[in-house]
């Protein structure tokens, strides 16, 4: 099966076997500290709740800049709703932490195109450094691929140099072949990153969809020479899971992808687990959640 010259075949059995094999890599001691420090710097610390307030954003930004008293590096970005970008920018002033904003009718994307454009323009005006857009899964599932491609192109045009992450919401897309197709669709339409999930449905990032997406990124890179970033998101709560994804990216895409410019983790509670594991490696003591500030 092909689409626009891209092979869409997915060997499910082989991918399952490889995912299992890669997820069993044992990363210990110094390598673990190295991996965790990488992951920390790749986190998009996220809060996307209706109940978010300026106070929540202030705490989130502080945590993003100053993860721990031991002085671990800050995270890559905070990810918030468009209404809170200006506050996040103010709190992060002078730091290296970016402000990413969801846009285009997040999380469902079920709003008119004009609203998606307005949503994105407002986010950019407020100062967003990165945009996380959702695709219209309904149109994609209907087979209206041109619609999805056009909307990504339109949003990318507005974004210009601002990094655009395209959320596929793999849990709603269905088969692995369709996830591969959506990945190519997003990359050819101009996505800088492809992202697994919104985090708003129960079926979020998992080994198989992640494997399919990074293999698509690899194939796109081999064919075009362009490096597209990858962002697993949703349900990544444990440092161990994040290390498994890191291993997969390293094995399939190579170590050049192990940078915040090309790999991000969309998460909230992951950060504290990473800090707890780092602290365990430093002190030798297993850690306790109440000793860590809330990650929103």
């Amino acid at each position: 099966m092909k689409w626009e010259g891209w092979s869409l075949s997915v060997d499910r059995t082989a991918i399952e076997a490889r995912a299992v094999e890669l997820s069993k890599r044992s990363i210990k001691k110094a390598s673990k500290v190295e991996a965790l420090t990488h992951i920390l710097q790749m986190i998009d610390l996220t809060t996307l709740e209706g109940a978010d307030t300026q106070g929540v954003i202030k705490a989130l930004c502080h945590k993003a800049m100053h993860p721990h008293q031991r002085g671990y590096p800050s995270v890559a970005a905070v990810c918030v709703y468009p209404n809170l970008i200006a506050d996040a920018k103010a709190y992060l002033n002078g730091s290296t932490v970016h402000v990413a904003s969801v846009a285009t009718g997040f999380p469902s994307g079920q709003v008119p195109m004009s609203a998606k454009i307005q949503d994105t323009e407002a986010a950019l005006r407020a100062g967003a450094d990165e945009i996380d857009m959702v695709i219209s899964r309904g149109e994609f599932l209907k087979g209206n691929l041109e619609f999805v491609s056009d909307e990504i192109k339109a949003i990318k045009k507005i974004c210009g140099d601002v990094h655009l992450k395209v959320i596929l919401e793999t849990g709603e897309i269905g088969s692995l072949e369709m996830i591969r197709q959506a990945s190519f669709l997003a990359m050819t339409a101009g996505a800088d990153f492809i992202k697994t999930s919104t985090g708003k449905i129960s079926s979020a990032a998992n080994f198989l969809s992640v494997m399919v997406m990074i293999e698509a990124i690899r194939d796109y890179h081999l064919a075009t020479g362009k490096k597209i970033g990858f962002k697993p998101a949703g349900g990544i709560k444990r440092a161990k899971q994040a290390i498994q994804y890191l291993v997969m990216v390293n094995e399939i895409l190579g170590s050049e992808w192990l940078t915040p410019e090309l790999l991000r983790f969309g998460a909230s509670s992951l950060m504290n687990d990473v800090l707890m594991q780092l602290e365990k490696e430093q002190s030798g003591q297993y850690q306790s959640a109440p000793y860590y500030s809330l990650a929103y």
Partner: protein
């Protein structure tokens, strides 16, 4: 043809399930009936047990005191029902010196019943209405400490274990128990009883393993709130004791001093309300008596 009996490996009891150690290690245990295999827990098994125990705390301490009492009562029922099994484990022990197994078992069951009766009564003794000089009340009442690491007594195979475990359970604590290595088969049999007594998964986690390997982790884990280790001074060198004290100090673990007991004393005297309060934190609340 003679039938070949199925030999049992005594698994760890973590999260309501009987699992082997993640390390794959085991300890051969000599009994009067031959050698049996116990799992040898690793620090990761211990860590997993603590991780599981944390959410179980909300469930167990959220149960009404009456329900906790009913569940402890059910444990005594199940011990009675599995009397023969427990008797076999006790009589297999090569070095049960002073007491006979029947007395040990009877006392253990009776003591569980004692603690079951206390669950909805101890708060009345351990809590108070405080005297104040103003138009308000203050009340103090006991709340569970949280996750209790229990290092089971070395001189009492069942009764000692039951006493320290029930002491933690009755006030709503959850526990990770390190059974004495020699009495591991008894402890895991007791876990099988607990597993069929409506105790929520994760409330009691039973490990068998090497003390010198696991004790430093029991004492240093930041998410363990208290340690019961009734005979901790007997087995350890001065240096080991100091290291444990240093480790426990990091998160101000409570390490209540409980009276050291002989094998026969474990059978004769269960813990009372003074000891119950050693595994509780006191919360005091203020309430206005009337509008001025």
């Amino acid at each position: 043809m003679e039938r070949l009996a199925v030999q049992k490996t005594y698994k760890l009891f973590i999260n309501g399930q009987f699992t082997r150690s993640e390390s794959g290690r085991y300890i051969p245990l000599d009994t009067n009936q031959g050698t049996v295999n116990l799992c040898r827990a690793s620090r990761k098994d211990f860590r997993n047990a603590v991780q599981i125990a944390r959410p179980a705390l909300a469930t167990w301490s959220g149960y009404s005191a009456l329900l906790r009492g009913q569940i402890l009562y059910r444990i005594s029922e199940m011990m009675e029902a599995r009397r023969n099994d427990l008797m076999d484990r006790l009589t297999e022990l090569p070095d049960l010196k002073e007491s006979d197994p029947t007395k040990e078992l009877n006392a253990a069951i009776d003591h569980v019943l004692w603690y079951a009766g206390w669950t909805d009564k101890y708060a009345a003794l351990c809590g108070t209405v405080n005297p104040v000089t103003g138009p308000y009340f203050t009340f103090s009442y006991p709340e569970p400490m949280g996750i209790v690491g229990i290092v089971a007594p070395q001189n009492s195979p069942l009764c000692g274990l039951v006493n320290v475990l029930m002491l933690a359970m009755l006030s709503g604590n959850v526990s990770v128990v390190l059974a004495d290595q020699r009495f591991g088969a008894v402890a895991i049999t007791l876990s099988e009883i607990i597993a069929t007594s409506d105790v929520p998964p994760g409330v009691v986690n039973m490990l068998t393993g090497d003390r010198s390997e696991l004790l430093p982790h029991f004492y240093s884990h930041m998410d363990v709130n208290a340690i019961i280790h009734p005979d901790r001074y007997e087995e350890l060198s001065q240096e080991e004791i100091m290291n444990l004290f240093k480790a426990e100090g990091h998160n101000l673990k409570r390490c209540p001093q409980l009276a050291q007991k002989s094998e026969l004393e474990w059978q004769s005297e269960p813990y009372g309300p003074i000891d119950f309060s050693k595994l509780t934190e006191t919360k005091t609340v203020w309430h206005p008596a009337a509008m001025p």
